[in-house]
Amino acid sequence: MSSVATNQKVEFGRVPLGRIAMWWVIASEVVIFGGLITCYLLYRIRYPEWGHEAAHTNTWLGALNTFVLLTSSFTIVLAHAASTKGELKKVWLYSLCTILGGFIFLGVKAVEYTTEIHHGFTITKSVFWSFYYVMTGLHASHVIAGMTAIFVVALKARKGEHLHRVEMAGLYWHFVDVVWIFLFPLLYIAK
């Protein structure tokens, strides 16, 4: 299959329906995560002392998870590129690499949660920690959903079926990455 690489935008009518639907899903997710982030930012402005609470989050583990998600975004876009060329083995391999990235992310998050809870920073300790667990927990649930979607799509794609779905699953995964790009400085760096 040859891809039409062009710098010109196409007409809206040529955009596949599935891709438009996925962009609408992403738009709704923007409001969900954006609403939480907006409230969190307003509270941070009102209560600057929350910075002392944020000092207890582990910046290096947060940075490691950012690296993992950026890399998994890289591998899923390679899976998409391979799908356009009909390279089914590469689609399967890159999809599995992405799922592995998701497992590493969740593993690191589990270590963080365990450490924080052992130090007494539970969801009920303060409003900061409520926001922390709700935002990162909601994000982690999206990571699990993305991993599941990629696995289901990859199972079909390795047989050459529904290859266009690799891109749809990839769009969702990239969005999960973009959300983390903003959560990382909000929760780990702004202290």
């Binding site: 062009t6 196409v10 040529r14 955009v15 950026l70 890399t71 356009t84 290859l163 969005f175 702004a190």
Partner: protein, 105 residues
């Protein structure tokens, strides 16, 4: 559109940039963000770190999500969600920021 594309309902009209270079740039920006954490001026550091977060998000959206090849109507979907988010902001702002502070402003 080829038969294969028609079978899959898949028309790959966008280009494929050098994804490795984009990934490398993203990792370098992440490194810079971490380095900025050690900057003496805290306000400047946080401002720059958030500016870099927007750059990272833009790079992912434009290249990995191929938004720069999509028609403006697709970008409009995301802008629409940002407008809705603006209403959320206006709705919760008076609840979080004390009314005395709003009047004082």
């Amino acid at each position: 559109m080829s038969d294969h594309q028609q079978q899959n309902g898949h028309e790959d009209y966008h280009g494929h940039p050098n994804y490795f270079v984009i990934w490398a740039v993203l990792v370098v920006i992440l490194g810079i963000s971490l380095g900025l954490g050690y900057l003496g001026n805290h306000t400047l550091a946080v401002t720059l770190i958030f500016a870099l977060a927007f750059v990272k998000a833009f790079l992912v959206l434009a290249n990995f999500m191929h938004l720069r090849w999509e028609p403006k109507a697709v970008t409009a979907i995301i802008i629409f969600s940002m407008i809705v988010l603006g209403y959320v902001f206006l709705g919760v702002y008076p609840d979080i920021v004390p009314i005395e502070r709003i009047i004082a402003q």
